[in-house]
Amino acid sequence: MPEKLYIDALREGLREEMLRDENVFILGEDVGLYGGAFGVTKGLFQEFGEDRVKDTPISEAAIAGAAVGAALCGMRPVAEIMFFDFFTIAMDQLVNQGAKNRYMFGGKAKVPMVIRGPMGCGTGAAAQHSQSFPAVFAHFPGLKVVMPSTPYDVKGLIKASIRDDNPVVFAEHKLLYRVKGEVPDEEYIVPLGKADVKRKGKDITVVAGSIMVIRALEAAKQLEKEGIDVEVVDPRTLKPLDMDTIINSVKKTGRVVIVEDDPISFGWGAEVAAGIASSSAFDYLDAPIKRLAGLDIPIPYNPNLEKHAVPQVEDIIKGIKDTLR
């Protein structure tokens, strides 16, 4: 199977959907000729033209509002927000319009749109360009939230998100763009709401999302040498959340560490922890549920401080060992 970069797999997914369905179009800041701030849409403007890859003014509210309107009119827009941090500006259109319209029209109108962007720290982009908060959107009924961790998943999930009839928040981590992985050339879809066991193990379950999947897998690899067999579960979509896969894994291992990139307070890890504790997995827990997540601080600019603001591989190793004590 050929190996591809996450960013390239994502672009492949977009391109395939644009080829498949002429209602699919891209809009955002500098997505056209420039190919997007991170290069996700590179080449698509040349291939599909300015009607289907549209540059917009610098207004996330306008981008989101235009996407919601276009979706209501039968199009399938994919809106890019340059930094996930700016989703806050798109919030009103997304939350108060996009998330509500289908419900308020009694199902007669649909909002098939994707709004995507890069999140996360690790690039020295400081507090306003480094945040991860996909969990915020999981709080609103009517929105779906996806955060793919691998090239394979990002392609399969962008295709599923475009085909979904509801607004989908699609959170990519900046540091994942350059991650390589196997991606088949053949057409495939990764369904929303289906978690993936990224690594099978019997001693402990690590539930990790987005960039943390990569770090958890690295931690597992190192711990294997010490005879610790880690299972890594990637929920892939926060909403809908596939608790069954997580519960089954915890029932098997009896111990769980949840690793998030988001700030810890009220994060999705708390939702997962509560889901485990109130499920049939409760009787199988052999240690308290552990959460590792971002500190409750704005992401620092200083690279050393920035590194310590979110879990790193060594933190995950320590968290696993603590839980296995």
Binding site: G254, F282, D283, Y284, L285, D286, A287, R325
Partner: protein, 439 residues
Amino acid sequence: MATIVTMPKLGTTMEEGTIIKWLKKEGEPIQKGEPYVEIQTDKVNLEDEAPESGIMRKILVSEGAVVPVGKEIAIIAGADEVLPEIGEEKTKEAERQASQIKSGEETKEQPKEMEAFEGRVKASPAAKRVARENDVDLSKVTPSGPDGRITEKDVMEFIKSHKIKATPVAMKIAVEQGISLETIQKAPGERITKQDLVPKESEKTFPAAETQKVIPVTGMRKIIAERMTKSKGTAPHIYLTLEVDMTKVIELREKLLPAIQARYSCKLSYNDILIKASAVAIKQNPIVNSSFLGDEIIIKQDINIGLAVALDDGLIVPVVRCADKKGIGEISKETTQLIEKARSGKLMPDEYQGGTFTITNLGMYDIENFKAIINQPESAILAVGKIMKKPVVIGDQIVIRPMMNLTLSCDHRVIDGAQGARFLQTLKQILEEPLEMLM
């Protein structure tokens, strides 16, 4: 100012006391010096007096509870006074604050140590499930997890090590006869066989008698049990018996009875005479008045004679101090008072401690002869039997005489047979010529 009342120390050896009865209820006014609680020590029941006046605001321990000396039992305070926090919470809170101040940590950064909740076993949900499924009592499982948590592995190991192995025949017999295989003692890993279940003819057990009443072993019963076991276990007892002709003691008692009655208003008993006689005999044989302390033997100066007094639910030994220096009348008066106090549970610790020799008399129950257990740290005890008229040979004549058996139990680590015998012989001579002891 609220007064926190603690379990008082009502004797030098008292370490804990039982709350028998609260004489004041919560909310009742109380005067300084007024009895407010009845406390049982290992020997006696005593009323404790209020240290302050006020309202009995809070009773911290219920009746029947055993409380160590110095532990808070009640709070006396003004009617509207805010009560101080008491007990473990208080100390824990103080400790927590202290440690916080010391380490300068924020409240959030408290020690992770979880509090132990009484009666709750700390086990993971998985451990609890496995225990439930296998009918394992978690309190018997040794925890290996952090902060003493029982994990699933601990329960599995417990089950493995406690799994009962038995042959199929043994299992069948066990089921048929309703025998619990857990009660069969076997080396770990060894199988229970038919032989283990079919008792030998001599070992066949019969259904146990039905229980009428359960008496908890506490207080005095516990002390008696402990001390008697200890004495028999540590002191090698030797027993020496002889018979005493009590003719002259009886005569003496009859003569002294009215005089002592008149002067001390008490009834002279044979025990009083025996106390005096023993004290005199001890003076001539001081080794009997001793304690064995392992490296050394202490011979006591004072001759303090204890007299065993039977109670409804036990036994206590009040002590007549310096009996050798006291007159028979004085001894009689003292024993009368001590026995009365003993029977009403009012004996003070100083009245039953410090004995150097004990006399126990079961003559009133028609016992002719018996052997007593030494009341440690003493080294000897005299068991007194009934005075009985018996045919005895005096010269070449058979005559009828009131005879009495004396049995001395000696701690052989201190007193050899001959030494004990000499003491007993001296005592016999004194009793047979009682006027001697007046000299």
